[in-house]
Symmetry: C2
Subunit: 575 residues, 2 copies
């Protein structure tokens, strides 16, 4: 019936616990947020001994459900001070789920600042000294651990940024080729892992789709139906499989919602130079791949493999990364963007926050706008741990404070991703009200504002945005628990069979009798749990706000400001 | 009847307004906090255009009331995010009050980042271009402005730290000799002034005790009585006039409440080397002064003038500065402490926060414990604006985050001053609950915990500390409004004639009929106003807490932890 692996880094003790009744049927974000609410004092220091890192595969991970290999990592965030769930692709979720592990809970702190590797296999789990990897990049560590344990391992690891407790440190999950590039990136959970003294988790098993299934035949049938639903939709069946997420660059630019030069404009003259179309062309010409799976069984294969002129390979370059490291900084050279992305992956930083931070350095005049080479040089300081590197590694709000910059597009300490809240107001509502700080995945209103998926809500008008964001935030919380990639939502929103089919898969896996309404209730409960944590941590509605300049400054090409009132924002949590 | 000078830095407009009825009789902190609550949106960016800097002499400033030359500077703090009043000695309060100015309100922001000097004289007020002083230390700017306008001027200025918007930038007020060393230091209001584009305020008048007085004879009599009350008390009549505030170094060390090596112990082996007694000896031997007034008419003359071997003069070295730059960092060389203090004064940093920050650098291993020369070198980076300088200039919590240090003795982002909350639990209550972040002056329980002034509450027991802190916080808010130096409280607490005599002076000045109860009500109202501001800014009781390690770690020589519960802390605001 599943188990929880509890690892105490203070004592070195590892316990296997049966999943308590109250957690039955939960997975992913639903489980990480519930455990955090129950076990972590919300006012604790995120980098102190009382925070916990909770890692949970989704409810459907480790099965043949298409695109179900997402892993949730939760903890109190050192970047935002809120509860946090960061969600990644890669192979580890499938392997943990196949071993019957519903969650790994990392607690306490290692003695004397020592680092360890947590090795999980079919034989059990153990902590192995890991100081030999200290200061090493994630690519090298991945290579060495794969050489030691085999190329089949699932690997979650932090880089030097996480070791140095930087608030923008992420947790990398390996893709099937071993690239440490599928990041549970946002919110600095890599620093939480670093604060525990845990450098990496190795899941040593060949199993990937061996999770227990109560009704295998019904499951297989539902999974097949779900694969067809994904393949039939233009976004999940064509757009993503052909160009990956970066197909959005030209679309969002055309919509005039591509934040450029630290949110001064909605269009970037060199957008096409860093677009998915360009990326596919260059990657293929250099022997890379325009699209690629991040875990076995994904039908959307939206990842990519981009060989760089220096012989290194960046895999993948996602849209939000290309935006942050590109348009936000007015960098229009895809090789520079790729190199910045590679450095983030190697040192262990979230790309969105890192790009946001480089933009702040440009705003401050520390490096020139659009200077990719200067940005690369600055970003290399992170691994060196120099004072500048420490500033960069702690994120955009921190860098802004360091350099006296007040124009910083962040909410609750987390930098906004690749969509201007004035050019797509629904996403602005999500940024403001998400339990996680500015986060596009928490309620991806771009789908309905711009891609016209799940209906259409005019992106430039205020009407309907709060309802849209609320509905998507609730649905997303549920999807983030399922182990399914959030991108399935494109198809699910447009196909009335989508959500019932997910419920069929869950019911078949667990022998349950859930309804679609139960899924909505689950999403609502997750948001309530997270909000309760944040309230207990000292957050009030005053934190659910965008920075003033979005309310005051019109931007090209639209003459709009963010005009959704505080009261309207506060009405989001009406359930 | 007094006027308010309103300076809009965006437009350059300067308006003189009559003091509205609702502000009549208010001064100092009572006035700055009331204006902030009425005029500043509490959620605003402290360094953005919507914050305001409010400068107000006390109710009795500009009179012959002894020790009444304190000035209050208020604004939303970039260090804490709370409302802030920082209070300083020096000559400016007396001069502003003598010109009939109850408050100066600085609003907006200068265009293009230009800096200005606000010149206030008997003829009016004007803004003068001040970019020529950009990057210059406060000593040089003081010298140049005195050369230009005369040695009689009152001068409030920021240093390069404030220009660079560093969250630990203070506002320096001149002493009679022109030393820019009487700081409204805490909470980063120098950065607020810098964000407005205001480098300095020059008050060009010879007048110092010319404020309007309704009943001059009654006033003179009460003032004379009050002077006697101060002179008769052992602390205000002997301790402070003989050795200044640093007489506390050996006393607090003896009491075992002197935080040493980042709060690891309560005694510092070299405390005597940096004590007031030692300071007096060296200062006098070098031709300085053991004690000295910070403004004309002070009977306590607790300041000092300390010539350094390099030919420069540090005036003064206060106890809290000597602690922060000394014991906290295990620096036991008074000349090193003096030089660190001098650099803080020159670049424009609060010494308590700066010392706290240097301790964090030592905790992180960036510089060695006790290495005064390395600390001086690091602190010099602030003026240079290097990445390390930016980190240091933003305070201890910021530096801790930069370097991955979790052991930082701060509340609401502000570093604790010179008293361990486990060795004097009353001050711990004040640190936790003050509207200003960790602040000793907000409710100086050391008086009753250690100096046995105003009775005695055992510093190591929890009983009585919340009541003590509440009473002192209320009384302090009122005294901070009076323009009287807080040190008068030593005498006032022990002499039943003390408070009535203050009320007599206020009544004689304003032709009012206040009672002692009215003063208590005023103090309560100020705290309520400040707390209302903070609540609207998003603060909750969760912010009224000490860092965990004070609750968990016993320290030498006392085997005590801070054991006052959250509920007990929350009971402070029961009025």
């Amino acid at each position: 019936m599943g188990k929880i692996l509890r690892v105490n880094m203070s004592s070195g003790e590892i316990r296997t616990e049966a999943v308590p009744e109250k957690y039955r049927g939960l997975g992913g974000r639903g489980l990480t947020s519930k455990i955090l609410l129950e076990e972590v004092v919300p006012t604790c220091n995120p980098l102190g001994p009382y925070n916990k890192l909770v890692i949970a595969p989704g409810m459907l991970s480790g099965t043949k459900a298409p695109s179900s290999g997402r892993i949730s990592v939760g903890g109190k965030s050192p970047l935002t001070g809120t509860i946090k769930e960061a969600n990644a692709g890669g192979t580890t979720a499938q392997k943990l789920a196949s071993l019957g592990i519903n969650a790994v809970i990392i607690e306490g702190q290692s003695v004397g600042g020592k680092f360890y590797i947590l090795l999980i296999s079919e034989q059990g789990a153990q902590l192995i000294p890991g100081d030999e990897f200290k200061g090493k990049g994630t690519y090298e560590v991945s290579e060495r651990l794969r050489a030691r344990y085999g190329n089949h391992i699932g690997l979650l690891q932090i880089g030097p940024a996480g070791e140095m407790l930087m608030a923008n440190a992420g947790i990398a999950n390996n893709d099937p080729e071993g690239n440490s590039s599928r990041y549970a990136g946002r919110g600095g959970l890599g620093a939480v892992m670093g604060s525990k003294g845990l450098r990496a988790i190795v899941v040593d098993t060949q199993k990937i789709m061996d999770a227990e299934i109560a009704q295998p035949e019904a499951f297989a049938e539902a999974a097949k139906k779900f694969a067809k639903i994904l393949l039939d939709h233009p976004v999940t069946g064509q757009g993503l499989p052909n160009f990956g997420t970066n197909v959005l660059m030209n679309i969002i630019n055309e919509a005039g919602a591509l934040p450029t030069k630290n949110f001064r404009r909605g269009r970037f003259a060199k957008a096409n130079e860093i677009s998915g179309e360009k990326l596919a062309e260059v990657a293929v010409a250099r022997g890379g791949k325009a699209t690629h799976i991040c875990h076995p069984g994904c039908v959307m294969r939206c990842s990519n493999i981009y060989p760089m002129p220096n012989g290194k390979v960046c895999a993948p370059i996602e849209y939000e990364s290309a935006w942050a490291l590109g348009a936000h900084c007015e960098i229009g050279d895809l090789d520079d963007v790729a190199m910045l992305n590679y450095i983030c992956n190697d040192v262990g930083l979230d790309t969105i926050e890192a790009g946001g931070t480089l933009g702040i350095l440009m705003e401050a005049g520390v490096i020139p706008w659009g200077d990719g080479k200067a940005a690369i040089k600055a970003l290399e300081e992170v691994a060196a741990g120099s004072p500048l590197g420490r500033i960069i590694g702690n994120g955009a709000v921190f860098a802004a404070k360091a350099f006296g910059v007040t124009r910083v597009g962040a909410v609750k300490g987390q930098h906004m991703p690749a969509y201007d809240p004035r050019g797509a107001k629904g996403i602005g509502v999500t940024y403001a009200t998400s339990t996680m700080g500015a986060d596009h995945t928490a309620g991806y209103c771009i789908a309905t504002n711009i891609l016209k998926v799940g209906g259409y809500v005019d992106p430039l008008k205020k009407e309907g945005q709060v309802d849209l964001s609320r509905n998507l935030q609730i649905a997303t919380a549920a999807i983030d628990s399922s182990g399914l990639c959030l991108f399935v939502a494109f198809a699910v929103l447009d196909n009335p069979e989508g959500l019932p089919t997910i419920v069929e898969m869950v019911n078949a896996k667990y022998g349950a009798n859930l309804t679609v309404d139960d899924v909505i209730s689950l999403g609502q409960q997750i948001l309530k749990d997270e909000r309760e944590f944040n309230t207990k941590a000292g957050f009030t509605k005053e934190a659910d706000r965008l920075p003033d300049f979005f309310l005051e400054e019109e931007f090209e090409p639209h003459s709009t400001k963010f005009d959704i009132t505080d009261d309207e924002l506060d009405s989001l949590y009406n359930f």
